[in-house]
């Protein structure tokens, strides 16, 4: 252990060939990370945070230009290394934990062997390597280690895969661990577990870490220092607490402002006239795939002009529930709409519209925004023009002529929403509508949804794994766990008195991520079922 800084970067400029001339991804970056320190690099997509970090590994797409006054990891000048030296450097000095563990692992090799490889590379014998691998798997709290080692990546859940990647990364006892959006796409609870695990391991093994994320609270909760990148420029740097509580740079402020405020309850609205009773009644809804049940005996109602939030981790059946309501899948039980059919010619108009999570695939890449909206109005029997619809849903008139691939994520999602509101549809199901978006556009979108509801009196079924987001829009919140509706109350009730242990774990982890505080030096113990026990 030398006391050379884990990372020493001065005047780093990274540029790559764009479609038209060179594009500068990182400009004039200075960065110093002490051994064992946990550093967070935050910024929205395209801010160059990943590029900056990956430059430390010198693994960049061909044709990428890198210049730096200094670029060293644990005292090694990275840019000077020749090919074999570079290999040894990568093998020893640093490791990376990737965004999508599923893709980072070789699908055709057992996870055990993939970890063993590293030990073997560091000169361990076969048996020795196997033994250490078991140990490593146990260290990332997977058991039975022996059995897990024999599995293939696709036989593991996302969380388990990420634990394996971590074990693999730490096998070489690196000085620096680069965490590139390690928990994006994982359920909030798994996210908590993974991050806690990393914190624990860092305290145990003393490696430095760079956590790259667009999720400011996450970074704040797990890093000692934070750097904020915008357009490849480090606009602000400082201790986690300071940056989060007293942001100096406007960009940082905007980021923080955009965070869904955990305590902000949706302003009570003139309750929809209960005279007509609920809009939808769901009774004993059950859906089973082969042997296992995705939904078992779920019953609830959705009031008129009500927003019903639905939380649960992936696989909990919340999406299936949405599909059943939209009539996209078969089910047992009854779903009753208390509305008279609206007909157009021989066709009955749909009563339900869906806004999906993945905006990229929810728009036909070959049809312009105008075409999409026009057709939707026609199909949903709307009485407004495309322009009216566009401007009500905040789709700029300049977007109408464009094709999906020319839109940003937020814009796409707006179009998707506009499409859902093209006609008077009583119920709109929002299935994770914002989880693919940056916090800022997420906030704007949530506002839009609320506003639209106020204007049209539509009912929402709002599905998400992010309790905070759900809370922002929902009147009532239901919690799905393992196919069962374990809890269903008014939004604030859920937070005040979570009953079911799973609900509690959800609430806790939500709070844990949102409450900005400097992380404790002490390692966070392994979360048990009760959720994350925080040392404070």
């Amino acid at each position: 252990m030398t006391d050379a800084p884990a990372v020493q970067v001065r005047g780093l400029v990274v540029s790559y060939r764009g479609r038209s001339g060179p594009v500068t991804a990182v400009r004039d970056l200075d960065l110093t990370i002490a051994p064992g320190e946990s550093y967070g690099l935050v910024g929205e997509s395209g801010s160059g945070k990943s590029t900056a970090a990956m430059t430390l590994t010198r693994y960049l797409p061909p044709g990428t230009g890198v210049t730096a006054a200094e670029l060293s990891v644990a005292g090694t000048g990275v840019l000077a290394l020749d090919t074999p030296a570079l290999r040894r450097f990568r093998a020893g000095a640093l490791s990376v934990v990737y965004q999508e563990p599923g893709l980072a692992l070789d699908p055709t090799m057992t996870v055990g062997r993939q970890i063993e490889e590293v030990y073997r590379l560091h000169g361990a014998g076969r048996a020795q390597a196997r033994a250490r691998t078991r140990a490593a798997i146990e260290r990332v709290r997977l058991s039975p280690a022996g059995q897990i080692a024999k599995r293939y990546p696709h036989e593991l859940s996302g969380g388990q895969q990420q634990r394996i990647v971590i074990a693999m990364a730490l096998a070489s006892e690196p000085r620096l661990l680069i965490l590139d959006e390690p928990t994006t796409g994982l359920d909030s609870r798994v996210e908590t577990e993974i991050m806690a695990l990393i914190d624990g391991l860092r305290a145990e093994l003393g490696f430095a870490s760079i956590l790259i994320s667009h999720n400011l609270p996450l970074i704040a909760a797990h890093c000692q220092r934070i750097g904020v990148l915008e357009g490849g420029v480090l606009v602000e740097e400082g201790a986690a607490a300071d940056v989060l509580l007293a942001p100096r740079h406007p960009y940082t402020r905007s980021l923080i402002a955009a965070l869904p405020d955990i305590n902000a309850v949706r302003p009570p609205r003139p309750a929809a006239d209960t005279a007509q009773g609920p809009l939808v009644t769901v009774e004993h809804l059950t859906k089973r795939f082969q042997q296992k049940a995705a939904l078992s005996d779920v019953s609830f109602t959705i009031g008129r002009a009500e927003a019903l939030g639905l939380v649960g981790e992936s696989g909990s059946g919340k999406t299936t529930l949405g599909l059943s309501l939209a009539g996209l899948t078969s089910y047992d039980g009854t779903i009753t709409f208390h509305t008279e059919d609206r007909r157009r010619g021989r066709r009955t108009l749909p009563r339900v519209q869906v806004v999906f999570q993945n905006a990229d695939s929810s728009l036909n890449p070959r049809r312009s925004v105008r075409q999409v909206l026009a057709r939707s109005i026609e199909l949903l029997g709307g009485d407004q023009t495309v322009e009216e619809l566009a401007n009500r849903t905040g789709v700029g008139p300049d977007l109408l002529a464009k094709l999906p691939h020319e839109l940003s994520g937020g814009q796409k999602q707006r179009v998707a929403i506009a499409r859902a509101f093209a006609g008077p549809v009583p119920l709109v199901i929002c299935d994770e509508p914002t989880s693919a978006l940056d916090v800022s556009s997420q906030a704007r979108l949530l506002d839009l949804l609320a506003e639209l509801q106020d204007r049209t009196g539509v009912s929402y079924l709002f599905i998400s794994h992010d309790l905070a987001v759900v809370r922002q829009v929902s009147d009532r919140i239901g919690v799905l766990y393992d196919g069962e509706l374990v809890e269903l109350k008014a939004a604030e009730e859920i937070f005040r008195h979570p009953e079911h242990p799973y609900t509690r774990s959800l609430v806790d982890s939500a709070l844990a991520l949102r409450q900005a505080q400097a992380p404790s030096p002490a390692p966070a113990p392994a979360p048990d079922f009760g959720g994350v026990a925080r040392a404070d």
Binding site: R87, R90, A91, Y98, E117, L121, L142, H154, S157, Q160
Partner: protein, 344 residues
Amino acid sequence: MSVLSDQAAALAPGRRPGLWSGRRSRVLTLLGRRLIQIPVVLFVVSILTFWLIELVPGDPGRNALGQYATPAQVRAWDVSNGLTGPITGRYLHWLSDFVSGNWGTSFVYQVPSRPLVFGHLVNTLFLGLFAFVLLVPLALVLGSIQAYREGGRTDRGITIALMSLSSVPEFVIGVLLLVVFAVGLNLVPVESGAFATGDFAQRLQVTTLPAVTLAVAYLAVLARMVRTGTAGALTAQFHRTAVLKGLRPAQIVRRHVARNALIPTLQLVGIYLGTLLGGSAVVETLFNYPGLGALLVVAAERKDPVLLTDGVMITGVIALLALLLTDIGLILMDPRIRFEAGES
């Protein structure tokens, strides 16, 4: 908590429960399904063939007795060879013969069909395997070279060269090879027929030209497939993982690239194996090689339902077995693969 994770895992989408039953069971289930499918497919094929050949003009009696035989004589011949009567009856007769193993007599050659078919089959298998042995390694080499040089001049060059080769008709390539090696250099005999039954070295020698001709025809597409597969593996994220692990290039290729690159190729290889072993009419005709392909062409042209259907059955079995083989190979190579009904 690990318990929880396991539950989470069990619920995670894209994961099929009961997979721990492992490869052996998956292979067995596949075998089971195919053992049912193959006969059904063959049955349909046999009906189709028998019915199609019926539509071919001309009649075996005339073909056998020639132009100077009187219609009466031809009719007599047809009767004595059981060629009259409704097609269904004849088909059923053929079917019972085929199943019972004592296949009928070829009308064209006037000899029992089974030894005829199997005799030619052996030759075709030899030729096919030879071509296969030339084809696959070459395709692998060229394909991977292209992948590592993707988009480069080498890549384009090889692509164009291969395409040009594969798009010149087999018989043109074959003729050129013949003129050069057989007539010009006199390295190999022109017509392989008489020697195809000699000792191994001799067979290898006489089969070289046909095999090369065959291989050339398939090289382009296969190499292309290898190229795509390898390029895919090289750009995959797990490749990056491997590189950043600090593995040696050779290790990366051997452990991580090769296997993943081959998976998409394997399917195609299976189909080709089938077609190659099924015999190539053109090449066999051109080199006068006594293979199944040429035999079937004659059977088809001279309207020999028994011989044709028997032969098609055999080629069919081989094609299907080749597919089965590769599918098993796929299972062994790619743990994710499982053949749901409909995709097999």
